[in-house]
Amino acid sequence: MMRKIFLYTFLIFIIHIQCSYANDSERSLITQIDDPHIQIGSNFFGGKLLVFGSISGRDLLKSDIIIKVQGKEKKALIREKIKKYGIWINNTATLVEDVPSFYTIYSNRNINRITDTEFLAREEIGINNLKFTSQIEGPQVQHIYDVIKKRNRENSIFTENFTGIRIIGNKLFRSSVELPQGIKEGTYEVSIFFFEDQVLVDSDISNIFVNKTQSGKYIYNQANKNPLWYGIIAVIIAWCAGLIIIGVSRVT
């Protein structure tokens, strides 16, 4: 409730600024992310990232906006399964780099109508414009890239929503970016592009942070930072559980 009150107060504030500076020649994009800290708790089934903002001196109804949320780029090892001795086994491995851990595009209409393909390709806007790198080249590696994109689309790790931005009045835009259940911990870059007549007018970049909640993070950290102690504790817990089972069975 408090968040909503804050949000609406902020929106009114922005409208007020817009009205005050309506005739100002300066064109500045003002954006806000409702809560840049996303917590992955024990009952996390995906979340929503509320992005909203405005640009001074422009009529949003005649403009286009693209929001890109991208996770840290990582390496992926791709193994092809082949049939050998009647069973399917992993064959060769190909290392592919620059694969974002998460990628989503939100816009008010199809991005190909918003601006030219060169710009989209350069800024890697759109799943098809994502550029991966690998040491090998040729049609086979292109097939691997396509599979990575397809698989990530299926798992909602790579998404596109061309009707995901709402224009409120002619001053404000608002978008609720879906974050999937499988989103990983880390820093994510939120880029907002503002276009008019297919030309980029302004852009803004900010970060959001996805963290595991205290208990989950603590367990994860202990498992990775103190693996020996973590293992010993896991065994002690199991011994205690075993003794509880003995206790329960003696009672019953």
Partner: protein, 304 residues
């Protein structure tokens, strides 16, 4: 009721996992086996990464085998000396198994080896258990069969380093139990099982131990081997999910009670027959997943 597992990094339904833990508990209560041979594949079928399933299941078996071993220990049905020899073999096997596990993980073949190991072992053990179950139902006289076999003198009895095992009434070489323990230790590391369903027949048919001490002795060895395997997996692979293990253990508490009650009502032959069917069913399910063309021919492994 869903929950996000911090190490497996997947959201799971607690009730489903609790139910799985319950099934394992029922099995340990009914058959005197740890149930890992069934639980690890079930976890993998449910979507837990195989390497997390193996390591976490080893942790869960620690709990279920402690309670099982206690019941046998109270009846003085544990040959501590034999169990310790099996344990020494198990410790060596665990270290070898973990090294092998890490190597296979690095070359991208661990999932295949886990599945193949299950198909081979479950296939053999399931068939033997099934046939034995049917045979004992038909003959209705199991003791005569075992007594007759016990009279035969195996070559392994004549190996060096002999030791007297008063509890089992044996004077045999320690090499066979060491090797059995070692083999079980390797399997525990790679498959996330206690290995009771291998050790028990081996103790009966190879070591010729009296049937009343084999389950207790194997559980005694399993407690310590799976404890070590848990620590080694946590240390080498960071794949032990305490939250997942806790859910499975709580299910196990309930299941063990039901299993013990059911075990008293049903006849041993029926139980063995049922266990055989269960093992074969899991085996066929894994085999099918290996033989049928997978939906995705490319597997993607993220490297951070």
């Amino acid at each position: 009721m869903y929950m996000y597992l911090p190490i497996a990094e997947v959201s799971v339904n607690i009730l489903v996992l609790f139910g799985m833990g319950g099934i394992v508990g029922i099995l340990s209560g009914m058959f005197g086996v740890g149930g890992g041979f069934l639980m690890t594949p079930l976890l993998i079928f449910y979507g837990i990464p195989p390497i997390v399933a193996v390591a976490t299941e080893a942790n869960q078996i620690v709990a279920s085998s402690i309670s099982g071993a206690y019941a046998h220990w109270r009846r003085a049905a544990v040959d501590i000396k034999m169990g310790t020899i099996l344990l020494i073999g198990g410790v060596i096997g665990s270290f070898i198994g973990i090294r092998l596990f890490v190597y296979l993980k690095n070359v991208g073949q661990i999932d295949l080896i886990i599945s193949l190991s299950y198909v081979i072992l479950l296939g053999i053990i399931g068939t033997i258990t099934f046939i034995e179950g049917i045979r004992s139902i038909i003959t209705q006289d199991e003791s005569r069969y075992i007594t007759k076999r016990n009279r035969e003198r195996l070559w392994i009895y004549t190996l060096p380093l002999r030791m007297r095992f008063k509890k089992s009434g044996l004077y045999i070489s320690i090499i066979p139990p060491l090797i059995i323990g070692l083999f079980v230790g390797i399997l525990a590391s790679i498959m996330g099982i206690g290995g009771g369903f291998i050790m028990v027949p081996a103790m009966i048919y190879l070591l010729r131990m009296p049937t009343n001490v084999v389950i207790g002795t194997s559980l005694y060895q399993i407690i310590f081997v799976t404890s070590l395997v848990t620590i080694l997996h946590a240390y080498e692979n960071q794949t032990v999910d305490i939250m997942l293990a806790l859910i499975l253990m709580s299910g196990g508490v309930v299941g063990a009670q039901i299993g013990a009650a059911l075990g008293h009502r049903l006849k041993a032959e029926q139980l063995r027959f049922m266990l055989g069917i269960l093992i074969l069913a899991v085996c066929i399910k894994i085999l099918t997943s290996l033989v049928i063309e997978p939906q995705n021919l490319l597997t993607i492994t993220d490297i951070i």
